[in-house]
Symmetry: C2
Amino acid sequence: MTAYDALIDHVRQTRALSTAAGILSWDQEVMMPEKGAPARAEQMGALEAAVHTRRTDGRVADLLADAGAEKIDRSPAEAANLRLIAHETKRASRIPADLAQAIAKKTAIAQGVWAKARATNDVPLFLPHLEEIVALRREEAAAVHEGDGPLYDALLDVYEPGMTVAQLQPLLEGLRPRLTALREAIAAKSDAQPNFSGTSNKDGQMTLAHKVAEITGYNFTAGRLDLSVHPFSSGSNNDVRITTRVDEANPMGCLYSTIHELGHALYEQGLPADLEGQPAGASVSMGVHESQSRLWENQIGRSAQFCTHLYPLAKEHLGAMGLGDAQAFHRAVNRVETGFIRTEADEVHYNLHVLLRFELERDLIGGDLEVADLEEAWNTRFERDFGLAVPDPAHGLLQDVHWSVGLFGYFPTYSLGNIYAAQLNEALRAAVPDLDAQLARGETGAVLSWLRENVHTKASVNEPGAIVENASSQKLSSEPLLTYLETKYATLFGI
Amino acid sequence: MTAYDALIDHVRQTRALSTAAGILSWDQEVMMPEKGAPARAEQMGALEAAVHTRRTDGRVADLLADAGAEKIDRSPAEAANLRLIAHETKRASRIPADLAQAIAKKTAIAQGVWAKARATNDVPLFLPHLEEIVALRREEAAAVHEGDGPLYDALLDVYEPGMTVAQLQPLLEGLRPRLTALREAIAAKSDAQPNFSGTSNKDGQMTLAHKVAEITGYNFTAGRLDLSVHPFSSGSNNDVRITTRVDEANPMGCLYSTIHELGHALYEQGLPADLEGQPAGASVSMGVHESQSRLWENQIGRSAQFCTHLYPLAKEHLGAMGLGDAQAFHRAVNRVETGFIRTEADEVHYNLHVLLRFELERDLIGGDLEVADLEEAWNTRFERDFGLAVPDPAHGLLQDVHWSVGLFGYFPTYSLGNIYAAQLNEALRAAVPDLDAQLARGETGAVLSWLRENVHTKASVNEPGAIVENASSQKLSSEPLLTYLETKYATLFGI
């Protein structure tokens, strides 16, 4: 056995422990009896320890060195495996064990404090914990940081390998002026927006969710669809699982959450079988993942043409919804309304929410903003971008769990996902000129085929930016997203 | 931290990996998408390897020695922890790694061969594999064996700690003459047995299963009830899961499988919370486990009094079943019929099936019977004990999966379970004189309380035999089981 093969075996087995933990997490949200939580926490801790032991095993570095010395021509996937394993091993070796433990411990506590603080609008309760978390993750960033860029680059790299502030900032900040202008133009026409009324029961919503899953090509012999409090997707390859939620008063929540998670799930089901279990065979980044969910949810799922197919299906399973025809349905699922909560935001506002968070967390990690000044900074910027005063911290600084669990560098991947999705959508539509006609007939096979070929099967053989640039035959740019949004809402609102 | 505490921490974490594997096994049978099997096999292998690494870690032996040297008074539970960990560590250290691997590899292959052999009645296909398995498990037994008894003792000890052939054989063989006589006496009256007719749908069967679970005191905040191909129970303490099966033409299969698995599950839910995760806090043996399932299934679930409560419930959810009253229901769930298949056997025949297997496997391991002569030995003994000629191997030697996966020493625990159950039932009824009246009202709280106090909370602090003897205030004996069966069927059949 070559050193390379031994290395891949080692890494595969480590990954099997991680994916086992993934099944346990899914089980915890979907199946576990309520009293099972303490035992589950012990199981997750034991798995994490076993994974850590294997990752930091000196054998990995030895095998990497031996594999590097082997005189064998490597395929692109093999070269990617070596690159990815070396990158992770270096990172793991540079983070002191006591720092990793301190982060795990602190965030476990802070998440509970955050939940309490949000429920009681108690910012001072949460800020001391946030301060410690920022300090710990700055310490981590400093330990692994390379190059001349800001510390924040080292955190960004965890979720979007290869991405830097230098590349990200212009992409994101380019969005603000035109999104703000679009928001204002739509606000002036807001009486033109129809809305849903009435309720629809759980069975109807779940039947529709299953039908939509089948339409998109989700493979139920390699996947599941269940209910949970917050929708999520997990797993990969031949065991992918998505969840959705049911709110009888808001059937569109179930429908579009399902389509969003299906986008994630189709990506995971489309990863190359011959690289299963290898680093090069995994999904490549949070941003590319989000591009898949957003493309299916928005560019496909909220398109006028797909809505003409969805409307009669929705009517059959959800009832009349107070909407007279497919056009009204299409307008209702594309309502634009300024609000405080990111997760409820429409396509126009969503990236403004992300921009706000990106700039604040970049400044926190960069040392340009103190945690003590965070709430004021949030509220000031929010009013500037959204034209509304934040009424309380639960609708402002305290709304998201992310910072309490140490996720810095993660928020921007949501907007990168939207940017990537718009680039991919342009290329998809160029490759499939009659896509609109297909979507109107409920045929999405061409979408899946194109994504399979250009994104899914690429897995992690290249870096995320390169995958999107190759697939879309253009450099990363926010222009396709802005053009898509401006064109769409111009048609919808006559602006 | 004392060496004892460090040892318990280590063992708890190892056990958390094992219980994680238990959740994955449950998931595999109940939830996993069909294509998930290969990835699941990798996860299970990785977990097994992680468990093995921790079990054979030299630190365990060091901590055991250090804990033994600590001048601290140990509680009975602490002493049991040390005894159980020492026992397992010694056993693990004596089994060479390549032997353990050979057994795992051989049985994984043989299980598939057995399934094929059973489907095609092809004994010669299976026997060479069985021969290797017998040789491997003999080698394992020889490596760990202690004392003057036969090799088989070392295998028995895995499933029923402390049990020996010297103690087991008289218990089991004492059953044969009186069971055979009972079987013949009933056969002479077999026209007196009513039977179910008609079908009942899945929803009705599952609703009844849930209701019966609630009657027994199964805690759904610490447990689940789902469907699977073969009913089983898994988990412990606050995350216990049972499954049942639905056959529309045989609603009693679902009902009594559920009650059987509930017996296992109530035991696991009743283990002492303060010893959770420790060896002394686990269920004590396969035999005691089976005593719980069989006591609930038979001594409670098939009793005339509980049947008077079950009948109207069953009628409500399953339909009329072709049975006029509770008495007919009681007679129907206690039908006696000679058959070839162990898993379908009634209370009279069940132990005769086990006896046959015990004697054969004892002789195989002892070297007194060759694998080549096994089929003839099976068929000869079957005809002697059951009065019927085995029609084909699928109804004979090839019916059970056990030997193909290396389970030697396991079969007797089924009969031990029945023997223990009858002893416990005698003591329970002495302690709760009006139990019959309670059961007729559907009240089983006294049963659960008595089992909690006398069996469940004892966990593994003592050896299984001692737990049953203490709970029943008598030595292990097959007399209570024989008396129970003879009395029951005398009443039912007027013999």
